[in-house]
Amino acid sequence: MKNASRRSAAVYALPALAGLALLPFLDFRANRIVSGEGVMLWAPEGGSLLGAATLATLILGTVLIGAQLGRFVAALAALALLLWLAGQGAATLSAEAPEFARISLGGGFWIAAAFAALAAADAVARLSLGALVRIVALALPALGFGLALRGGLFDDLSILREYAANRDVFDAALGGHMRLVLGSLIPALLIGLPLGWLCFSSRRARTVVLPVLNLLQTTPSIAMFGLLMVPLGALSRAVPALRDWGVGGIGAAPAIVALALYALLPIVANTYAGLVGVPETMRDAGRGMGMSRARLLARVELPLAAPVILTGIRIVVVQNIGLAAVAALIGGGGFGTLVFRGMGQAAMDLVLLGTLPIVALAILASLMFDAIIETTRRGGAR
């Protein structure tokens, strides 16, 4: 058993070590656009021999330590050291470099960081903690990372140079992205939940609604944005007052409508599935207690269906956080603005500045929903 668990820890440690050994840790470029030269981890201005040795020891530690908690701590420590070495290395490199030089994170860093994070997540999963403890166990390192970011540890890395140069665009993108995701979620819930109930109570509604929603889901996002530009543009021309509300062929309006349409299928399908899954005996018991149809729905059916419905909402939120990136193509704002601008300027770090927050938001949302779903499951079992 112990050997098996050790072997599975090696699955994370070996790629991390191989990545660091074969690929550059940092990438040094004379300016923003040109291709760079790699700096390996053990180079004096990379992480130095001492840093490299410590890091290798910590990564090997995730394999050699038997206890999952120790493994988790070792993986986190490796991740922290990776980040610290990268920040320090960038500071050293930029101190003796010309003003326009850029230092980016190299392939070795990304591979090692990804596998260290996976190893930490794997250890947490094996500890089988409660949802809240798990969130705290992940929130503390995140807090530490946030403080280091604030404290300027990474300021010499190119990605933060991009942030400094595009701070107002970034802030607007964050607000815009949240507005797209939440702005589409709320109408989708208001329409989707009753529609799911309708599918549950009427067979005919089901045979019409579900295929139509399937069709919507099949339509590629950029095509959906394009198709919605036409009616919304016409609407804003016909009713100019709507234009003051921001309704138009381009901008956030078609994006929000498109995201809400994509959100409908998982919400409706899961509401339907959740309601179907309520045991008939429970319904009978409620009816026997003299509950009205509405009361039965509110007090018995919805609470029992809640975990399945929430799973649908989780799918929707994660999916729309990703899809909202495409909205920038039609001027809908959000982090896609940074991604597309970065691609236009061939500036990889600007692309990353747009991508990393999207991925972070998606991971954050799935963790939160997992915790909520677990809580409702436990509540339902009581």
Partner: protein
């Protein structure tokens, strides 16, 4: 003829007609165009764009299904069990990456054009195939597996003649999801220079020509719907055969 087959036939006929005679769309496009704007995209024949789009999605689909299914089979074997958590976590994480990010990250590695889009499509299309291969193989009932072993079938024979055929409908669902997502991602691929139908939409967005946008959007949506209906039909046939 079943309702699904009828829907597929209608969608395919409509798609083929609009690809072969783009002019059929002009009355519709005239409704949205500004006076004096071109109605039909004419920088490249639509047929060529459709062929490239299909080639891109098809080639990536083949790679994604071969790699995804192989990985799915490997982690469900006893010897590969240790990789299961890693593979599941990596696959979950992969799905939080928006397609546009995968494309954007591939560009500096491979340059603009066909290659980054192809790589992004392979990577992104792999996830649903892998997930569904694992789910399908795990869903094979234990008594069936026992019976196959009792009949004295070797490991590989059990896999090829019992487990994979039983898991086929679920795997096919993964392939369908992967194909539909990839038709959309290939469209976005036009922002990094891949030749395909996305070009029409992007050109329309860049020049403020709503007619181009509508033409491209309709064609892409129809293509995705055709692929979805066709693979759904295949799934139904397979699960009936099983």
């Amino acid at each position: 003829m079943s309702r699904g087959a009828l829907a597929l036939l209608v969608a395919l006929a409509l798609f083929a007609a609009l690809v072969l005679w783009p002019g059929l769309m002009t009355p519709l496009l005239r409704l949205v165009a500004e006076p004096g704007q071109a109605l039909l995209y004419d920088r490249q024949p639509i047929r060529v764009l459709v062929a490239w789009h299909l080639a891109l999605v098809g080639a990536a689909g083949v790679v994604a299904s071969v790699v995804g299914m192989t990985l799915g089979v490997l982690v469900t074997r006893p010897r590969g069990a240790e990789f299961m958590t890693l593979a599941r976590m990596a696959s979950n994480l992969g799905q939080t990456f928006p397609p546009i990010a995968v494309l954007a990250v591939a560009v500096p590695l491979l340059g603009f054009g066909f290659e980054p889009t192809f790589l992004a499509l392979c990577a992104y299309g792999l996830l649903p195939v892998f997930e569904n291969t694992v789910a399908g193989l795990r869903g094979v009932p234990a008594p069936v597996r026992e019976a196959a072993r009792g009949m004295g079938l070797a490991c590989s024979a059990r896999l090829w003649r019992v487990e994979l055929p039983l898991a086929a409908p679920v795997i096919l669902t993964g392939l369908r999801l992967s194909t539909v997502v990839n038709i959309g991602t290939a469209t976005i691929g036009s922002t990094v220079g891949a030749v395909g139908l996305g070009e029409v939409i992007i050109a329309g967005l860049q020049s403020g020509n709503t007619a181009f946008v509508l033409q491209g959007a309709l064609l892409v949506a129809l293509m995705a719907i055709c692929a979805d209906l066709a693979l759904r039909g295949l799934e139904r046939r397979m699960s009936r055969a099983g």
